[in-house]
């Protein structure tokens, strides 16, 4: 067991930081309003293109797809630095974390040739069509239908709380082709297909992040199906396992905590209450960081990810919560025009326990799989 970065890892982190210093505009921190915002989505296409040219967009991917087979630590160091900088990749972090790898695993050669190169060049945005008005945590109850027709499928239904849909070129869509968990399929759907309507949902988390997406008699050809009919549950579980510690939220949370403490110190307002609360929040960020590292280490060694991934996710939720509570109590001025960066972080921190599977679902998994408590009756 070793808690130190090796020379190669330190050098890679320095490379990423140098890239950020050279490629983020001088006013970046006043522009950074969240991954789904208009400004950040537009910037992501320029930025990710440059990242790709520098070999820093998909280093963990296979050589065939533009990567260099770098290990799991490389991609996580990259993710830490990007998220900590306010995620200049915008919604494209999703592409490199799990959409690309999922296409590599389940896609046909034609699908891979069509969709993976634009991701590897950093010029495309995807959205994830999972949640529906009646299917949130209970994803298996989704209703959007995909009915076979001549040459393909007709899609009818509604998705909701869909991140990045307003700017997305393609939707990774879950739809029903039969009954139950084995009656769900994944479709790769270009968002400019006739019959798709996107509406942004006004939200507390900022502009551009969540949407309703309507599918009204949308025709997709048969080759839009990813994997086999009925394989969606397996594909989605695989994708979500890649996503569970995908975002190193603890890194930005800790950075924002330090920023808030520095502001309080400067204003001579870092009193005893703030000292205690900030220390507890930092400990929670550190716990989340090491938990996440445990999962990265499992991936690096090729060990199947266990219920510790749920614990890592929940530890991150706790950290975001404590940092958020600290800012609200001790730095309310930051949320009232005082600091756009603290504001942007605070807006989106609430997402931690909700997106990619509610925190309570993680607690259920921890109780059953980590603690081995008896299951709840169904």
């Amino acid at each position: 067991m070793d808690f130190q970065w090796d020379a190669e890892q330190r050098a890679f982190r320095d490379t990423v930081r140098s890239f950020l210093a050279e490629n983020l505009p001088a006013d970046w921190e006043s522009l950074a309003h969240g991954p789904g915002s208009e400004s950040q989505s537009a910037f992501s296409k320029t930025f990710c293109g440059a990242l790709a040219k520098a070999g820093l967009l998909v280093p963990h991917w296979p050589k065939r797809w533009g990567g260099r087979d770098a290990d799991a630590w490389t991609s996580f160091i990259l993710a830490e630095e990007m998220w900590m900088a306010g995620e200049p990749r915008g919604g494209q972090y999703m592409n490199v974390n799990w959409i690309g790898p999922t296409l590599m695993r389940f896609g046909t050669e034609a699908q891979q040739d069509r969709y993976i190169p634009p991701i590897a060049r950093g010029e495309t945005i995807w959205c994830q069509g999972f949640s529906e008005p009646e299917a949130g945590s209970d994803l298996a109850s989704l209703r959007t239908r995909a009915e076979r027709c001549d040459g393909g499928y007709r899609l009818n239904g509604q998705k909701i709380w869909t991140s990045y849909a307003g700017h997305a070129d393609t939707c990774f869509l879950l739809a029903r082709t039969g009954i139950g968990k084995t009656g769900m399929s994944v479709f790769l759907v270009p968002m400019d297909t006739a019959g798709i309507t996107v509406r942004q949902i006004p939200s507390v988390i900022g502009e551009g992040d969540i949407h309703e997406v309507f599918f009204d008699d949308v025709f997709v050809p048969a080759d839009a199906l990813l994997g086999a009919e009925g394989q969606a549950w397996e594909i989605a579980r695989n994708a979500l396992s890649l996503e569970r510690v995908g975002i190193p939220r603890f890194a930005l949370a800790a950075r924002m905590l330090r920023r808030a403490v520095a502001a309080l110190k400067k204003a001579d307002r870092y009193g005893h209450g703030a000292v205690e609360q900030s220390a507890r929040a930092l400990a929670a960020c550190e716990a989340a960081r090491l938990y996440s590292y445990q999962i990265v280490d499992q991936r690096r060694h090729g060990t199947p990810t266990g219920p510790e991934a749920s614990a890592a996710r929940y530890a991150t939720v706790m950290a975001e919560r404590l940092v958020g509570e600290f800012v609200v109590e001790h730095c309310p001025d930051a949320l009232a025009g005082g600091d756009p960066l603290l504001l942007a972080h605070h807006q989106r921190a609430i997402v931690a326990g909700i997106a990619s599977g509610a925190a309570e679902i993680q607690l259920n998994l921890i109780a059953t799989e980590l603690l081995q408590l008896p299951r709840e009756p169904r």
């Binding site: 090796d6 520095a262 220390a279």
Partner: protein, 300 residues
């Protein structure tokens, strides 16, 4: 960064598993608070386990793993201070060790040969005889003792005092790790077998979620404690001790609640771990004291 055990670490933990096998359960007729492990201590001494931190292939990190493993036992002895703090005392000081903080009763004080005397910012060391100390009855599940008279003490330099304080934090955090894990395992067993309303208590979501939160805290305490042992960084040590005390505060209360009336008895072993944690919660100034240290070292 690598979270896999080295072969030396695996071998040591395997050897410890074999050594502690006779000490894994509480004697049925023991209904007290402090279950002292004199035989355990003798076996650890004979096996030279108290010196593992000084073995280059092992180091403080491996010693921390041993502290964690031994804290699972219902029996207790001065293990953490001897394994993790003693190597950092200036000079050769005999074990067992104990801490007397601002004159208060402390764990193992009545049987220690070396006392670490903390008075405000000052730390002194003293070798003591049985005439210097006496046992104290307490609610804590450690044998507690206090000074009868002030022994002749050697005051440490500020630098040495800071080092000792740091390693006491590391020792505290790693001992708390094992105690918390053992306490959770004990409650999980109860929740798995005790039935109400026709099903095991552990099948009720209200309890499952509280237990899951305890488990997440417990894992975090462990990672921070191991990291602090590995890096020997002042900030890491303060964070580890803070997270241990903070999490223990929450977990101890929840676990007794999980056991219902069984959690009020001395028949069930839960108190052997939780009432040790209660003793650890106040050390080095408790959460407030660790927070000040975190602010000093991490928010400088």
């Amino acid at each position: 960064m690598d979270f896999t055990l080295t072969s030396d670490q695996s071998a040591l933990l395997g050897a410890l598993d074999r050594l502690v096998a006779p000490f894994e359960s509480k004697p049925i007729d023991f209904h007290g608070f402090a279950l002292v492990g004199s035989d355990l201590e003798r076996e650890l001494t004979e096996g030279e386990y108290f010196d593992i931190a000084q073995i280059p292939e092992m180091g403080a990190l491996t010693a921390a793993m041993a502290v964690e493993r031994l804290a699972w036992l219902p029996y207790t002895a001065d293990i953490a201070l001897s394994m993790l703090v003693r190597p950092h005392l200036p000079g050769d000081w005999p074990r067992p060790l104990a801490v007397v903080e601002n004159g208060r009763p402390g764990r193992f004080v009545a049987t220690a040969r070396t006392l670490i005397l903390i008075d405000g910012d000052d730390i002194s060391l003293a070798q003591v005889t049985p005439d210097d100390v006496e046992p104290v009855d307490s609610l804590f599940a450690y044998p507690m003792g206090r000074l009868k008279r002030q022994p002749k003490a050697t005051k440490l330099s500020a630098e040495d005092a800071a080092t000792v304080r740091k390693w006491i934090r590391v020792a505290l955090a790693n001992e708390a790790t094992g105690l918390i894990q053992a306490a959770i395992a004990s409650a999980v067993e109860h929740l798995s077998v005790r039935k109400q309303f026709g099903r095991p208590l552990g099948a009720f979501q209200a309890l499952r979620h509280r237990m899951a939160e305890c488990a997440v805290l417990s894992g975090g305490v462990r990672w921070l404690a191991l990291q602090a042992a590995a890096t020997a960084d002042d900030g890491d040590a303060a964070l580890a001790a803070l997270h241990a005390q903070d999490s223990a505060t929450r977990i101890v209360y929840d676990l007794h609640q999980m056991l219902g009336a069984m959690g009020m008895t001395l028949e069930h072993p839960l108190h052997l771990w939780t009432y040790r944690l209660k003793a650890l919660m106040s050390e080095l100034g408790g959460r407030g004291g660790q927070s000040v240290a975190v602010a000093q070292h991490c928010f400088a």
